[in-house]
Symmetry: C2
Subunit: 247 residues, 2 copies
């Protein structure tokens, strides 16, 4: 096993950071690595905003409900961005571009581009001994985040990424068995069922035994609880108001 | 610079592969690394399908229009998957889950989860000396791909990933200047404009000078051409027919 794979397999989300600052050089390396991810047809349809303003950081902490947003050494906000491309064109071409830019396909393209870049940023950061936590919680009030940062049409804040030196070493959250996730030539729901039953039993033991936040729970129960309680239903309209995913 | 960052910065998409096979052990490592990516609220909302059936590989080659799909040593298909979770629940709970599962928010969650996993797979593969190419071209006829693999509702094929040992070393495609992608505390379109103008000039030189497929082009021209010609507009309805992104 090489050191890159070791880094990937060592991953855990870090929610407590040391006070140690990360350097401008490190930030640059992280962004540069993000940019080296693959991009669909060279569109590079994302923008990364570094949040150094304490007031904004405070506001994003409140929205996400996570103290580690504020306590991170550096906070990135990853945005899907088709506005940059729209701005390249003449008024006439902009009119012609709307059908494409506002389609679900391009919403997918920009979202995937952004996520690939972010994951490169994560692996780069972790390879430098930093810890990270994705902050999907900014979508608890996506409209507010949008307004705070005055994002134009065709730009959507997708998630934050809190980065800093780890001040704890949480246990690693078990993943679904490989054969639940990985199939050959077909999508097989039947083989998943018994494997998930076993996973639930194993996870139950993990939750009871683990040091922090011990509880009785299974993956299936968590998922059923989560999905029977709809959240962030306003994201649908928000995205359309930003003129994406609407055609 | 550590070896992980070197791997990330060395990335280029590989479109010609050697005949050398990749081993089941390597495939396992790649999938395991994919699974170690962060996942929103532990949902692990993706499925990876290895395509080893030659007929299916041939069909995906035709749909994507890329010979390197067929010529890869291993082809992965990455799917956003909320069906697994839906299947955990009783009929009664399934009814309650629909509002959430069918929302744009959960379509985003599953898409981002899938992309983060895929990029981990890419970095793992590249760290082992393999080359990769994302195959967004499977969305040229996403309905066909869906039908070939008989994917159920709530499962969307997002992209392929062709993997194998590189049989060429293409030049690295320049990225937008860091300051076009990275901003602080605000979204600044103005500062991007002059930087993109310079990038276009530099890229024009790159295209004229490069060995393979030399041509006269700029990034802005490419993007305007691309986005004034809508493609894959059927993805919108396809996704809704799969019951995602519809509420």
């Amino acid at each position: 096993m090489n050191s890159t794979i070791e880094t990937i397999l060592r991953h855990r989300s870090i929610r407590k950071f040391k006070n140690d600052p990360i350097t401008p050089e490190q930030i640059k390396t992280i962004v540069k690595c993000a940019q080296h991810a693959s991009t669909s047809s060279y569109v590079m349809a994302y923008t990364i905003i570094g949040i150094t303003d304490e007031t904004i950081k405070e506001e994003l902490t409140t929205i996400s409900g996570h103290e580690h947003v504020k306590n991170s050494s550096h906070l990135f906000l990853f945005c899907a961005d088709l506005n940059r491309i729209y701005h390249l064109a003449s008024k006439e071409d902009q009119e012609k571009m709307k059908e494409s830019i506002e389609s679900t396909e391009q919403f997918l393209v920009a979202t995937i581009d952004t996520a690939l870049a972010a994951q490169n940023a994560v692996i780069a950061a972790e390879s430098m001994g930093l810890g990270v936590c994705y902050i999907g919680g900014i979508r608890n009030n996506i409209k507010s985040v949008n307004d705070i940062l005055e994002l134009p049409d065709y730009v959507i804040p997708l998630f934050g990424l809190a980065v800093g030196y780890p001040a704890h070493q949480p246990e690693q959250k078990p993943r679904l068995p490989l054969n639940v996730i990985y199939h050959e030539n077909t999508y097989d729901i039947k083989k998943q069922t018994s494997l998930i039953e076993q996973f639930d039993k194993d996870l139950e033991k993990y939750y009871i035994q683990r040091g922090e936040n011990a509880r009785t729970d299974t993956w299936s129960d968590q998922m059923i609880r989560k999905y029977t309680n709809p959240i962030r239903m306003d994201v649908t309209q928000f995205v359309k108001d930003k003129k994406l995913n609407k055609r």
